[in-house]
Amino acid sequence: MNPPPSTLFTAPPEWQWLIVFYFFLGGIAGGAYVLAVLIDLFGDPLDRPLARLGYLIAFPVTVICGLLLILDLQRPLRFWHMLLQSETLRPMLKPWSPMSLGSWALLLFGGVAFVSFLAALADDGRGRWPRLAVLRPPGVLGTLVALIGGALGFFIAGYTGVLLTVTNRPIWADTSLLGLVFLISGASTAAALLALLGRRRARTSVTGLHALERFDSLMLVLELIALVALVVSLGSMARVWLSAWGALLAVGVIALGIVVPLVLYRRSLRLGDLSSSTVAAVLVLVGGFLLRVVIILSSEGV
């Protein structure tokens, strides 16, 4: 008989709902920024209001992310120990530890997202400092900010999966695909949120919304493929999901969060049916949340 998987002999870190929410919102913050940058750099000028919305979402959500992480610490007042060595006050960084690198990335992303937030306000003629608009593309300075923030946004959306993999816990450490899955899901949920909020604004172009729906459809297909690959890569450990968790994954994440929205997006793109597109976006957000719930809490329960 084969020996049992070694990840079954470890202890759960008890990362619970605060971390579930952080992983969900981190994906949205990073994804929204990345989408805003993609639209700003490659999109139609008509779609600039959508990109603006992305920047306006990214910064406040990042602030919430930081607060959730601090609250999850057993000693919240020592959160800065992640960034500075508490005795020498020298920078504390271990590039090979996703949590260490992620702490810095979140701080830096928060900073860049704040700059882009101000630039997005200024670009619209609001805010006290209209000159800050140069910090948003298409100018050279704005493009530079967007490229740095976009890279950090990708990191924020994906590193949480890598962080789970760099443990010894069942499921998390038994596959290399969690970072990829979270990254795609982050982009997908961010697109859904942008579409959902963008629709309520008069200045949003229909072509822009359709582009978001096409993008999200692509993400959903990729997410489905990545999830199947994830289950396969787990091998015998996938048996943990022969439980209510697996049912939640199949029904909540895959059926309601991926397959149904794909059908609805198709309907919306073909028939211009606004209500099905709204339902699709809501389902994508719910599915993205449930994905984190299943991945995090199913391992915590082993």
């Binding site: 002999f9 610490l73 057993q74 000693r75 992640m82 530890s97 010894n168 692509l218």
Partner: protein, 259 residues
């Protein structure tokens, strides 16, 4: 650096007296469970159950009985932090709270730890947990304070059968190999060392003599470093980033309204 110090725990002579658990709690001023109220496990004589933030030694009772209890055997093992040469907890700790000492042991500095709990999931043996009294991750320090003044750790000092042996790791390995040879000579051919080999996480400075498979003692058969998939999962995520970027490019590229 001083010599690498460690434990050799010979499970064949452990009598399950728990003197090590008590001595550890006394010396390290660890609180009682449940405010001192006795909580029984209900299905075992082992009421400590596992290592955690307030139990840095745990005498594991492996109770193997036939359903009618006419046949049975006990295996007893005083479990503890393995003080791995390649320590997963130390590798991931984002605050630098976990350090390697001059005795080649692994110690969590309680005044630095902020309770992020990354080390708990990273430890291949499930050794670490939060001590609710301090709100920080804690585990065996191999009595770092006692070592610094030339004393041996409290648990091995208290062990009445010399199941727990303390000393320089090199000496302990010789002692352990001799013990395995003696047991084999006496007919106990199942005896072997767990973690004395450098193949297991560079060697465990706290290693064990066992007479059954590791999993029977609730030890992982093949413990690994948490970073073993760091590269593969990073590259796959980068690939994901490229694909998302390309998908964005295809979806949002200018559709002709630009002059």
């Amino acid at each position: 650096m001083a010599q690498a110090m460690g434990f050799f725990t010979d499970t064949t002579v452990c009598i399950g007296c728990k003197a090590c658990e008590v001595a550890c709690k006394e010396w390290n001023q660890l609180p009682a469970t449940n405010g001192g109220a006795n909580t029984l496990s209900g299905d075992s004589y082992d009421n400590t159950r596992r290592l955690d933030g307030i139990h840095w030694r745990h005498v594991r009772f492996v109770e193997q009985f036939t359903p009618d209890r006419s046949q049975g055997r006990w295996l007893l093992m005083s479990d503890v932090c393995k003080h791995c040469v390649q320590a997963g907890c130390l590798e991931v700790c984002p605050t630098g709270a976990i350090i390697r000492t001059e005795f080649d042991t692994v110690v969590i500095q309680s005044d630095v730890c902020n309770g992020c709990r990354d080390c708990i999931g990273a430890c291949p043996f499930g050794v670490i947990d939060i001590n609710p009294a301090s709100g920080t991750a804690q585990k065996c320090t191999l009595c770092y304070d006692r070592l610094q003044v030339g004393l041996e750790p409290a648990c091995s000092k208290a062990c009445p059968t010399d199941s727990i042996n303390f000393g320089p790791v090199a000496d302990l390995k010789k002692m352990a190999e001799a013990r395995v040879g003696r047991l084999h000579g006496q007919g106990e051919t199942r005896a072997y060392l767990y973690g004395a080999d450098e193949k297991m996480l560079g060697g465990l400075n706290s290693f064990f003599l066992l007479v059954d498979k590791p999993e029977v003692y609730h030890l992982p058969p093949d413990p690994k470093m948490p970073t073993r998939r760091l590269k593969s999962s990073t590259w796959l995520s980068v690939l994901g980033g490229v694909v998302v970027g390309l998908a964005g490019l295809v979806s949002f590229r200018t559709r002709g309204s630009r002059p």
